[in-house]
Assembly symmetry: C2
Homo-oligomer: 314 residues x 2
């Protein structure tokens, strides 16, 4: 099974390392090979730790040139139009090349269009890495079939949850943001995390997949944490409460917004970069929590999708 | 696909009802039929709501007579030797008849023996319903492959957790037990819950499956909640703590015992009949929580196994 990796940043490097580490001990991975790696610098044919481009070609050309069985998209999200990933997925899926992605933008913008192609050809899409990194959320639904989900609710962005936690603990917003950057929990430009955009993209993907909706990022309003004052967080604390950025969807409402919640709410206890998702279906309410960030976690999400694909269970 | 149901108590009835409800809307279930139902009264051929035996035969004879594709064991556990289920599984699996079970005893007593037969013939075993009912725990591991689990820890028995919660809230042990019986959370003879046996059986199954161990119920000591005084629970409470019956296994230790835990521990917040499982692997720590009891939940666990089996993902 030939992979074409798109993007070779921290997640791409972690994925390559994990794949090499695991290939020896897990027979199911033994026939997997990285046939090419593509970055903005071009395509490198084969599998080497240090990237050096062999050809200056686009991702669409690279699909022709490598003819992979799977493309693994670990490139940074482009929320303008999801390109070049959207076109790459459509080209790949229409040829029955499977797609595994940790890149949220294509699925948050063009979920139905992409899945329609996959359904037509039978190609599979793995996207655990787009939501809660390797913590089962997308894939949790694969083992909870034939029960209608009426509501999902969660903390889906690690950066803002870390900042809110640290303000609660006494830092100012700027100190908390600075610390988050130093620890690698916030990017140099953290706008898309802080304004709720990232959480909204994840909620869009989850709702479309778990609740069978047809939502595009932009169809609903979302708020981030930038308008919360330290004072509001302290006041909530003095009342035994916390402010959390809550993503929520049921059959009528979809929203991301800061909420004041108390200790009777399981999400009250999700601090730092941890994420959590509550799923209410007709049978039960389950809650899963785990790390919501980190390149190794996201890479592990992509690797689990690869194993499920090889098992025929994506 | 022909099913033979073994046992037709609350879980069996809930399973049959769920299967009928879901068959209309989920194409994957459309070719599933209940070909026979077996209780201690005998075998009923076919699928009727009100059980009336057609033949006085044993489960081994019923397998020959019905020749099912799957046996679904919803009978009560026999912890003496796991019979007649152990013999039924071995007979079924050796003929490549799949097994789905919510009955803990056979797997807690003879896990390796049963799985060896399945591995030889390629028959599958679904057992989500044995641990945490329909809350993904066993099956969670199916979507978290190729990461070594170093530790599991959880609250796996709903009855004792309910009783501990109610004592914490002010009831006496006897009042709490009485209430648990009234609400259907404790059986008429609650010994196996109260003495830790049920949690130990679940921990045995989990450890064998998730951590690839070869443990039999009886190989390790376990304690229940019968020796805890109300006074100890109140004292823990006055120190801001709770006593919980914790199941724990790593690569060296396996135990079930009451533990005093504080609010920094995620299991502190698991109250009533809720269950939770913490899984530490080399990549991440994830925690799943959800209902740990109830016939509909257990039946849903068996139904999810059936769907995964039909998808080829057990």
């Amino acid at each position: 099974m030939k992979l074409l990796l798109i993007g070779y940043g921290n997640v791409g490097k972690a994925f390559r390392r994990l794949l090499h580490e695991k290939r020896d001990s897990y027979p199911i991975l033994q026939n997997v090979e990285i046939a090419g790696m593509l970055t903005r610098q071009g395509l490198m044919v084969g599998d080497k730790e240090n990237f050096s481009p062999d050809k200056q070609i686009t991702v669409l050309e690279a699909i022709d040139f490598i003819n992979p069985d799977v493309i693994v998209d670990m490139s940074a999200p482009n929320y303008k139009d999801g390109e070049p990933s959207v076109s790459a997925y459509i080209k790949a899926l229409s040829r029955k090349i499977h797609v595994i992605t940790v890149n949220k933008a294509p699925l948050a913008l063009k979920f139905r269009e992409i899945f329609e192609v996959a359904e037509r050809t039978g190609a599979k899409i793995g996207f655990q890495g787009t939501v809660m990194s390797g913590t089962p959320s997308i894939n949790l639904f694969r083992i909870q079939p034939v029960a209608e989900v009426s509501r999902i609710r969660g903390i889906l962005n690690g950066t803002t949850n870390y900042i809110l936690t640290r303000i609660y603990e006494g830092l100012s917003f700027n100190e908390a943001l600075k610390e988050a950057k130093e620890k690698g929990y916030a990017e140099e430009d953290p706008t898309l995390d802080l304004n709720g955009f990232d959480a909204a993209a994840k909620l869009t993907i989850l709702s479309n997949f778990i609740m069978n909706r047809s939502i595009r990022l932009g169809d609903f309003k979302f708020k981030g944490i930038t308008e919360i004052s330290n004072e509001e967080i302290r006041r909530a604390k003095s009342e035994g409460k916390k402010i959390k950025l809550i993503a929520y969807a049921d059959n009528y409402i979809i929203q991301v917004s800061p909420q004041i919640i108390g200790p009777q709410d399981p999400l009250y206890y999700i601090d730092g970069v941890e994420n959590a998702l509550e799923i209410q279906n007709e049978i039960q309410r389950i809650i899963i929590r785990g790390p919501g960030a980190g390149p190794t976690n996201a890479a592990y999400g992509a690797l689990t999708d690869l194993v499920l694909l090889l098992e025929g269970c994506l």
